[in-house]
């Protein structure tokens, strides 16, 4: 019997993980494995081996801090649904419920979802709308950067080969938060298009994150700008024409792809309609 299985290093601290990575540079970090193992089985990657981050305790914490809620990269999506502290970031809790199946939610990690950098991932438009910060660590030190600077192109992020994504800090925002998605069926799918809206009542602005509407998850800056000026912040109302315009601007300024799931035209249409509806929803609740 010829054994060609890749090695698996189970590490217990971030430093140990970084050390191992230096020794075996073509190995790959793995945690939930919901993406990496599927890709490996499809023959898309053939790493020398895996460094499992699952036993690193400090990656599993959800901790309220002064600048926001800290969520460790190893936190699984199911924890976002259950953890009491998540009440302060209701958007992620809502998105977590829409995420995959129960089995996948028990396994897939927040870090993996962020680090994939793919445009159709659930958490990315939410983190963009919340203006979260991601934290990276390598043997050389730590660094933090806004999620918008982290996402570069499909599947490519600012993370370098010798870095670990350790977590994300999500600022507390007071106001309406909601996540909408459309897909090819009514459960368990990769989104055809999705979006997340955050209304920041203190700063009187809205932030709209779009998923699968371009090469990476993105903010609908033009639409936000329009809405920030058009919304009557005193009365806290939005009339339908404003919502329609908001949706049209969001749709005009995104660049979705056509693929087997849907055409670009449909994705654009879905962004338009969902943006309209989510803005109406955000302000109808006030009345």
């Amino acid at each position: 019997m010829i054994i060609q299985s890749p090695f698996l290093a189970v590490v217990e601290s971030i430093n140990e993980a970084l050390d191992t990575k230096q020794k075996r540079p073509s190995s790959r970090f793995i945690s939930g494995g919901t993406e990496v193992i599927a890709d490996q089985n499809l023959g898309l990657l053939e790493p020398e081996g895996y460094i499992s981050l699952r036993r690193i305790k400090e990656l599993h914490t959800i901790e309220p801090k002064s600048d926001g809620l800290y969520i460790g990269a190893g936190v699984v999506v199911a924890q976002l649904l259950d953890d009491k502290a998540m009440a302060q970031v209701i958007l992620l809790k809502k998105a977590a419920r829409a995420f995959g199946t129960r089995q996948v939610r028990n396994r897939a990690t927040v870090g993996g979802n962020i680090a994939s950098g793919l445009p159709d991932r659930t958490l990315l438009p939410c983190l963009l709308a919340l203006e979260a910060t991601v934290h990276l660590q390598s043997a050389k030190g730590k660094r933090s950067l806004p999620i918008k600077d982290f996402l570069i192109e499909p599947g490519k992020t600012a993370i370098s080969k010798d870095e670990i994504l350790t977590g994300t800090t999500v600022p507390y925002v007071k106001g309406f938060q909601e996540y909408y998605m459309v897909g090819p069926r009514n459960a368990q799918f990769f989104v055809t298009a999705c979006l997340a809206l955050v209304v920041d009542e203190a700063n009187k602005n809205v932030r709209l994150g779009l998923g699968n509407a371009g090469p990476t998850a993105m903010r609908a800056k033009e639409a936000e700008e329009y809405a920030n000026n058009a919304i009557d912040w005193k009365k806290q109302t939005v009339d339908e024409t404003i919502a329609i315009k908001f949706g049209e601007i969001a749709a005009e300024n995104c660049s979705p792809v056509s693929d087997a799931a849907a055409s670009a035209a449909y994705r654009r249409h879905a962004i338009k309609v969902m943006s309209k509806r989510i803005l109406l929803r955000a302000f109808e609740r006030k009345q």
């Binding site: 019997m1 499809l42 459309v182 069926r185 009514n186 693929d259 087997a260 055409s263 449909y266 309609v273």
Partner: protein
């Protein structure tokens, strides 16, 4: 009739919901599927496949793979003793020798120590191709005369013209079986110069015939064992790894296991024929149908496989369950390079029924008539003629079914308080942007016909052997169990006939005489009848013995509740004791009536053995702006002859309806330039339990003549009509034409890129409109006739 949805392992006899013997193991995850098979010293097989839809093979060099340590065999086309096989015609290479004709066609095979090594070795084979221009559009194939079968017939007076005419062109997509267990199994040398194939199949004897022929062995040297089937739906009629496994096992003298990945299975599988059908109905102003005209085009793969039978089914049953006195029908199954096509639940009929029902929808709208009423007034009756020159000579409760179905209660409206609606009950599910104010409700109504048993001259028969000893019986019948329930059905039949409770059915392999293929909803009516006849013979033998031993009149004896009883029902002695430890046995063969090809004008045999009928009313909630759909309810009434196992019968209807709904809403295996675009479950979606509607199924039971218990096949009908029913409901909600199944959100929302609007099933996205020019005369190839 609504019955309890629970099964019981202890109930016996026809009409009870006996539990499947493997039910608990499957629920617990302990059932051994073919994918789980392991053996000491086994090797792993891997397949090198064509990356081109059409290419000449210039050179194949196996040496680099052969040299890899741990690789035990690398075989190419020249290693196959007879390199042409096929389900009906031998026109398909086991391994490509001259031209590769679809992406994923096997070119070379490898056996190695572990699966990863086998995969690498397969990749190491050097192949030079000369890519050629593939045919990807069925209309091009038609124009170029690439035709597997041409059907043309008329009935009555084809020149009749109706006051009202409605026509349309309808499309169905390439559907995948998407059974849970991918193609897998074990081939092992039997130690005596033969080979054993253990894996999931729908017909062990057809597999054996093809494997033995390809290996140049007598059939006796090949044993095919059906084992661990995880779904079939017609897909396991088509051979994939079996001949490859047998070749590698013979070459290495070691067991060889194949296990396809999902992506590989998508490429290797033979999918449902995509269809493009032009149809015109002529009717009176009162809605009485006068004539049907149709041009039926099915896209088959590059090799004939079962395409001829599929187009035959479509060109006949496009009539629907309606009495139509005149007809003019023409159809073609053509060869393209988009991948192989073969049977899938409702084989060939689904496409025709979709076109027929969709066009009748249009007729109902034009006449401003209730769609159920339009169907009821045209319902075919016993004694009527089918357009394919067959008398409907068996019970025909079509009108009753339609009326019963349309009288079933409708679901309540969505509650007015939106907070009370759980999002899984809304179009789009959790996190859907929809809400009550965006939702329109639609109702669709269809009825359908499906042939039971293979048609057009295909022999349909089965042999069963039953052994009784000590009051317990064992059934040997080679009917493949693929989840449809024959393992319980057969036992229940014997329990009822012999009046005993202990009955078991043996595992199926080719050491038994042949049974029918698990295909065409025919297993209960064919192999079930063989079991019943054998049990009847056994009963006579047994009672004759008892009468002689005890000096009784055999005519006064019967068997019931494990006892021999007399006419008054008095228990005489237990069956176990009465047998005196002896073995009683009977073997019987049952054959269905003969059928004839459509174009055989001499014979007066029917085209189809018999026909089943059903009606389906579908209720949908649609977010018309976003094209999101929730199928709320399906009400199905079906003609079933006799219910053998109520839970399984309801289960067949529920499963079939959901699978058909999948094709109605989402299942579309797309191809571009001959390459599949979504060959995995990330891109190809089947309905989840959240998508499944409430399904209310009711039965209409008129004993079918010709069978002692009067049963009828049921498995395919619910799938056949569900796409048409879902689309009818969507049309009702949206007001759109929706000529294409599936109606994905972009179609339902009517948001289409200009260049993609008509992309339909044809990859090239052309906009040519039918009815199309008639091509040059086709070769004379009837179905089920070998064409050298």
């Amino acid at each position: 009739m609504t019955s309890s949805q629970t099964t019981d392992p202890n109930v016996t006899g026809i009409g009870t919901s006996r539990q499947r013997p493997d039910a608990v193991a499957k629920a617990r995850g302990e059932f051994e599927y073919a994918t789980d098979l392991l053996e000491k010293d086994m090797l792993w097989g891997a397949t090198r496949r064509s990356p081109h839809p059409y290419a000449r093979i210039k050179k194949v060099n196996l040496n680099r793979a052969k040299e890899m340590p741990g690789v035990h065999a690398v075989l190419g086309a020249w290693d196959v003793p007879d390199n042409r096989f096929g389900a009906i015609n031998n026109d398909q290479p086991v391994l490509v020798d001259d031209y590769a004709r679809y992406v994923g066609e096997p070119i070379a095979i490898v056996a190695a120590e572990d699966p990863e090594l086998a995969r690498r070795a397969a990749n190491a084979i050097e192949i030079e191709y000369e890519p050629l221009v593939p045919i990807i559009d069925p209309l091009d194939a038609l124009a170029k005369g690439k035709i597997h079968r041409h059907v043309k017939y008329s009935f009555g007076d084809p020149t009749v013209v109706g006051e009202i005419q409605v026509e349309g062109e309808y499309f169905t997509a390439r559907q995948d079986h998407s059974f849970m267990a991918p193609d897998a199994g074990m081939a092992r040398p039997d130690g005596h110069g033969g080979v054993e194939i253990i894996g999931a199949t729908q017909w062990v004897h057809a597999d054996r015939f093809q494997i033995a022929a390809s290996l140049g062995l007598p059939e006796e040297k090949v044993l095919v064992v059906n084992s661990g089937v995880g779904g079939a739906f017609g897909g396991r009629v088509s051979m994939t790894w079996q001949i490859h496994g047998a070749l590698l096992a013979m070459h290495t003298n070691r067991p060889v296991k194949f296990l396809y990945s999902r992506k590989e299975a998508f490429h290797a599988r033979y999918h449902r024929h995509p269809s493009r059908i032009w149809i015109r109905h002529h009717a009176t102003k009162e809605g009485k149908l006068l004539k049907v005209e149709a041009k039926v085009l099915y896209e088959g793969g590059p090799y004939s496989h079962t395409s001829a039978a599929g187009i035959g089914n479509g060109c006949t049953l496009i009539q629907g369950p309606y009495n139509i006195p005149n007809a003019d029908i023409e159809g073609w199954a053509v060869a393209t390079n988009n991948g192989m096509c073969g049977p899938l639940r409702g084989f060939g009929v689904l496409q025709g029924v979709f076109a027929c029902e969709s066009n009748l929808d249009k007729l109902a709208r034009k006449l401003n008539m209730d769609p159920a009423k339009l169907r009821a007034v045209n319902a075919i009756k016993r004694g009527d003629q089918w357009i394919f020159r067959q008398i409907q000579d068996r019970p025909t409760p079509v009108q009753e079914i339609i009326e019963k179905c349309s009288a079933m209660p409708l679901p309540p409206d969505l509650p007015s308080d939106e907070g009370k609606i759980h999002p899984v009950h809304l179009p789009g599910g959790i996190a859907s942007p929809t809400g009550k104010k965006y939702i329109k409700r639609g109702i669709g109504f269809t009825s359908a016909v499906k042939n039971v048993c293979l048609s057009e001259g295909a022999p349909v028969n089965a042999t069963a052997m039953i052994t009784l000893r000590d009051g317990a019986a064992v059934i040997e019948c080679a009917a493949a169990e693929v989840g449809q329930g024959f393992v319980t059905i057969a036992c229940q039949i014997v329990q009822t006939v012999l009046g005993i409770s202990e009955v078991r059915i043996e595992r199926v392999d080719t050491s038994m005489p042949a049974a029918a293929t698990t295909d065409g909803s025919q297993q209960t009516v064919t192999s079930g009848t063989a079991v019943q006849v054998a049990a009847q013979t056994l009963k006579e033998r047994f009672l004759k013995f008892v009468a002689r031993e005890h000096n009784l009149d055999v005519n006064t004896l019967d068997m019931k509740d494990n006892f021999v009883i007399d006419k008054t029902g008095k228990k005489f002695t237990s069956i176990a004791e009465a047998g005196m430890g002896l073995i009683f046995r009977a073997t019987e063969k049952f054959s269905q009536r003969n059928t004839r090809p459509i174009d055989d004008m001499e014979s007066n045999d029917p085209v189809h053995v018999t026909l089943g009928f059903s009606a389906n009313r579908c209720v949908v909630d649609v977010d018309t702006e976003l094209g999101l759909v929730k199928v709320v309810q399906m009400d199905v009434v079906q003609d079933v002859g006799r219910v053998v196992n109520p839970v399984q019968a309801h289960g067949q209807i529920e499963g079939g309806a959901v699978q058909g709904m999948g094709l109605g809403l989402m299942e579309h295996l797309k191809a571009e330039d001959g390459h599949l675009l979504n060959p995995d479950w990330r891109g190809y979606h089947i309905p989840t339990i959240v998508d499944a509607p409430t399904i209310n199924s009711e039965f209409v039971s008129y004993p079918e003549p010709g069978y002692h218990f009067g049963w009828k096949g049921i498995a395919e009908l619910p799938h056949v009509q569900a796409p048409a029913s879902v689309l009818a409901a969507l049309r009702n909600a949206t007001g759109l034409e929706l000529p294409m199944a599936p109606a994905t959100p972009e179609y339902v929302a009517n948001v289409l890129d200009d260049n993609e609007a008509m992309a339909m099933n044809v990859a090239s996205g052309d906009k040519k409109r039918g009815p199309w020019k008639v091509p040059p005369p086709p070769p004379q190839t009837g179905p089920w006739v070998s064409d050298a």
